[in-house]
Symmetry: C2
Subunit: 231 residues, 2 copies
DNA sequence: CGATAATGTTACAGACCGGTCACACCCTGT
DNA sequence: ACAGGGTGTGACCGGTCTGTAACATTATCG
């Protein structure tokens, strides 16, 4: 049946994996539990034995996404333990990968749009995740010696969030195509301001990209990262 | 019955207005045509006589939103005819208003998230609208003498788009709270780079805001604008 | 007034939704 | 061999969804 790395997946994992896929492709409200169960090679009854309701399944999926993103952070924090500025650059590149990917944006953010009810149980997971991402990024900025670390973290968060949603509504050639160039320029501007202050010029900061960069094209180290549609 | 400015609205306008409201509150897929018709003080049959299908109604609503935003642009272009930099500032402030407002983000962007099918007829409207917004903003940047006008337009677009979506998933205290500060700082950085070059420093550019600005609070001129949940 | 168009009302079709029930099956461990 | 837990099957419930049919009512305007 369905496997992952040679190990046959049990129904529960298959359901979560399949549900994540279908939710992402068609939207949470655009796919029914029956379709999920069938696509996962099982049936509705088994699905309901593992997840008491569709909302429960949604929450489990969102938690699963959040867990994957956390793992990326943990790996990055280890790989770039003594190079926080390099980690910031890697954050931009992996963010750009997420922007391209399949162009469906962040699962958590999408869920927040779809599940409009302000008291929906999934909102806790979403808000906690977003808060966590912001804090992680701010901490990284602080570690990198950025003077206005929180402000840079917020700026980068808005840029990535915007790139991912803009990719959906304005297309791949829209403003999100310049996410890498913009992100790197912003980091350079913030980094150059607090300490060395040599040249706090905006854009054209790390070489390459510049005005005519057009389509963002992640390469180099970030390519190795099997990030799928994380975050 | 339902009026607007003293003039009684005909069923068609009432339906569009009501549908926009309900779509916004509960999401497009979260509200049925029957509920829309009833809330609009009419019935499903009349709704279907004006709009052949729910998709048609969705498209009409999105066009209506786009039209309102266009009107704002036209007014701004007239009010700030000889002060493009001032218009950019106004753009940021009215954007911040949209971010706050009811915290449900851009109707067009939300629709792009909800209507995941890549061939959904509403996608044309959405993409055209977003392309148009970007071009308008870029033209404004050019008029303001910004050297890298397109890059600034893309940056501001990502920031606003990010602020509006982040407001939904990370809450009102999240990164979107600093949208005005960030936006103004970016504009100042770009404006200071191309020509005068006096101080291209990031942040702390136009006074006020700064590090501890916390919640964005639109005031002054932008307050007059009855923007509702435009864009 | 009278003709015509727009609107209201009710009922219905057909599909799909989330969720449950009863029961049969099969695999695993002892 | 046996027991028990996880799983598969199909039917079913009540509700909601988009969309339509037929007919009654009202508004508009010459």
């Amino acid at each position: 049946m369905q496997e992952d790395g040679g190990v046959p997946l049990r129904p529960r994992e298959r359901i979560i994996s399949t549900a994540r896929d279908l939710f992402r492709k068609h939207g949470i409200r655009g796919v029914g539990v029956d379709a999920i169960a069938e696509a996962a090679g099982t049936n509705k009854m088994t699905l309901y034995r593992h997840f008491g309701s569709k909302d429960d399944l949604i929450i489990a999926c969102l938690r699963d996404v959040a867990r994957e993103v956390d793992e990326i952070w943990i790996r990055f924090d280890r790989e770039y333990a003594d190079d926080p500025l390099g980690e910031l650059g890697a954050w931009v590149r992996v963010g750009a990968e997420c922007v391209l990917d399949d162009g469906r944006g962040c699962d958590l953010a999408n869920a927040a749009v779809e599940l409009a009810e302000s008291d929906h149980p999934a909102r806790h997971v979403i808000e906690e995740f977003k808060r966590d991402q912001r804090n992680r990024l701010a901490k990284l900025c602080r570690r990198a010696g950025i003077a206005k670390a929180d402000l840079l973290a917020d700026t980068l968060t808005l840029l990535l969030e915007g790139a991912r949603v803009s990719r959906q509504s304005a297309g791949i050639e829209g403003p999100s195509a310049r996410f890498i160039a913009i992100g790197e320029a912003v980091i350079a501007a913030f980094a150059g301001e607090g300490q060395a202050r040599k040249h706090s010029r905006l854009s054209r900061s790390t070489g390459r990209q510049g005005e005519g960069a057009a389509i963002v094209s992640p390469r180099g180290r970030a390519r190795r990262v099997p990030v799928e549609h994380a975050r």
